[in-house]
Amino acid sequence: MHDLPLVIFTILSQLVIGGFVTLWWLDRKKCPISRQSGLMISISLVVLGAISVLISLLHLGHPFEAYRAILNIGVSWLSREVTFYGMFVGLSVLYTWFWLKDEAGKRSLIGGIASAIGVIAIFSSAKIYMIPAIPAWNSVTTLFSFFLTSLILGPLFVGAFLAIRGELSANISGISITALIAAAIVMVVYFSSLQGGLPQAVEAARLTTHQLLFWIRLFTFVIAFAILTFTFKNQYKQNNIIYSLVFVILFVSEFLARFQFYETAIHL
């Protein structure tokens, strides 16, 4: 499948940005995170960010000329995505450096700037696909689903990491449950708008729901939601196993949803 590199890139980049913002926020809120844990999470996010960039190059006919992709930043959302995501990854390296040096003030400042640029990168990424030529993409639900992927995977990634290190002091379940409820609403709005849209949108909805992948996506989504809800009240159950398990389940779920997003898009 030609778009597989883009499926992996968008999912990984949104996970990385969500995770980064979570780490920056927890650190800023003075949640106790040891230097070693902060450094490990930060390094893993930089590595994942770099991997996502390398994978995104695979969908180009000429990957070694990818540097030119920033030339049309004035009008092209793809140019803007490349520029802002590149800046985000660069700043996250600097952020990691300040974890290494344990300089909380500079870390907070750079983390804040990188977080804002990361948000702009996700916005640019979604705008690339909001094009009239592909009715199933040309909706604000694309924008919401890209941000929600970040909100679903990012905090859980950091939460699982901190839980494994035994340093999780914040309740990550709350934000994850809220994000999943929002994602469910977006899903309903998305399929309703497809059904009431142009013939290509109706066909995209039919193709999506007729694939087994859609039902696996729904099943994993519901299972993850159920686990998070049942363990929400009990802080002892919010452990490394639960967060790691839910993260893996939701990663699979979001990956399948994104795969179908590309696979079932019908051109005008």
């Binding site: 006919g61 000429h62 030339l71 049309n72 092209s76 140019s79 094009i131 009239p132 030529a133 005008l268």
Partner: protein, 186 residues
Amino acid sequence: MAKKLGFLVNIERCIGCHACEISCKSFYQLEPNMRRRRVTELPEELVGTPVRAFVSTACNHCDEPACKKACPVGAYTKREDGIVVHDQNMCIGCQMCGKACPYGVPQFNPVKKKMDKCSMCYDRLDVGQLPICVEKCPLEAIQIVDYNEVEPSNSVSVVPTFADPSITHPTTHFILPKPGKQTRRF
């Protein structure tokens, strides 16, 4: 006043011989599955009474080209005469222009690994020659028109299977076939 060049395709004249399509493909030595111009059959109910009609389409050299907005490297330019030109030397083969174009015009060249599209043979036009498809059509069904000078009153900007023209404002216009007379036999 700057020109606004566009194709005027006379569906009344077109017999679906594919000469435009093949002459273009041959002239530009395109890869086997690639076409810069395509001839397709239109639905019979195009003008009310049943007619057999064909339409030849290529790049529509739109007023607001979606390919130009989508391209991250700025490989697309719109000339003063309205022709949308793609610079293959700039292209990195991201294929975003093909996705963004409502008509799916830019195609991926699997050998060069770059996008490719009709240029209205601007290099031929610049030296006073006609585009190859216009020259080779035996029915003279394709013309180049400066729509800033003349707006053919008998033409339309959309035919069935053609995307909504309000998205990118394509310059291509079509002359529809005249409805045939129906003879009733009692």
